[in-house]
Symmetry: C2
Subunit: 156 residues, 2 copies
DNA sequence: ATAGGTGCAAATTCTTTGCACTGTC
DNA sequence: GACAGTGCAAAGAATTTGCACCTAT
């Protein structure tokens, strides 16, 4: 994952100004390995900037996304962001339903999926959801998790 | 895919009343093989019921989803619905970015993904996006498609 | 100094909810 | 006839936009 400094450098290089808010944002994504919603970000940053407004958060998230610094993923519960993986090679993710941390899967199913000749593949999505070691169901069976709760199994 | 009648029967069996709107909804999903947004549904049904309100559409979509009659998929552009596949066995989909039709992929990458022992897999998602034969990019390069347009490649 | 960034307020879009009326069973 | 389903209006969430002020470069 990109470090706080790499994120700031990326902004600098693209002519963006390094404001306090952006430093904090860089720090957040540089240090937090999981996915965050705009709200999460707002709440985190709001602790430091009392007058913070939501639109600033949204604007900066979008800017960082367009810079390629952040990944944006649409979950059932909504859009979330995380720092881009620094690994260069193509990979997928296992995503913990509890803590939202992600773990890389190097295996890519596309190699093995023989798309019929008449289907032009543009993009693919392969995501595995579950509970990581730290969050293993055994530890906490309660339906407390805000994220893992209402999931429907999307298998066909 | 489920037929119009199967959808209606499913509603009946669950004690739901078969109103005109629901008949039309069943017909729509029984005959339309692709994904539809709530708005698509509203517009389709609105042609028949002038006084139709959005909340009725939402309510019925949710009811049908909870019945397991509809599948709900979150796209970059938002939530979409389609009739559930009648094929019993587990499979995945190739989804045409132009016409939104889906084609089954019998291959499931989970068999080959060795999740580390400490990750408890709950669910997975494998979706391939592209252009089907009928919509092959060659035929129409224009950026007209309302759905396929602004896609960003979500590969990591 | 000046262009880009921020906060504020308001607009948009998508979705849900409360309530009285209507139609299905 | 009862009660689920509908339309309407309004409330909420999530996100975007216009504008005047502020601040990094």
């Amino acid at each position: 994952m990109l470090t706080t400094e790499q994120i700031i450098d990326a902004m600098s290089e693209h002519g963006l100004r390094i404001t306090d808010q952006r430093k904090t944002l860089a720090k957040l994504f540089g240090e937090h390995p999981g996915y965050l919603t705009a709200k999460d970000v707002y709440e985190y940053m709001g602790r430091k900037y009392s007058g913070l407004s939501f639109d600033t958060v949204y604007r900066n998230l979008r800017v960082l996304y367009e810079l390629g610094v952040l990944e944006q993923v649409v979950f059932e519960e909504g859009v979330k962001f995380r720092g881009r993986c620094s690994e260069e090679h193509h990979h997928h993710h296992m995503i913990c339903l509890q803590c939202q941390k992600t773990y890389p899967i190097t295996f890519c199913p596309m190699q093995l999926t023989d798309a019929p000749d008449d289907f032009q593949v543009v993009q693919h999505k392969f995501e595995v959801f579950g509970y990581c070691r730290d969050c293993g169901k055994d530890n906490n069976d309660q339906e407390t998790s805000q994220a893992g709760g209402g999931h429907r199994d999307s298998r066909a």
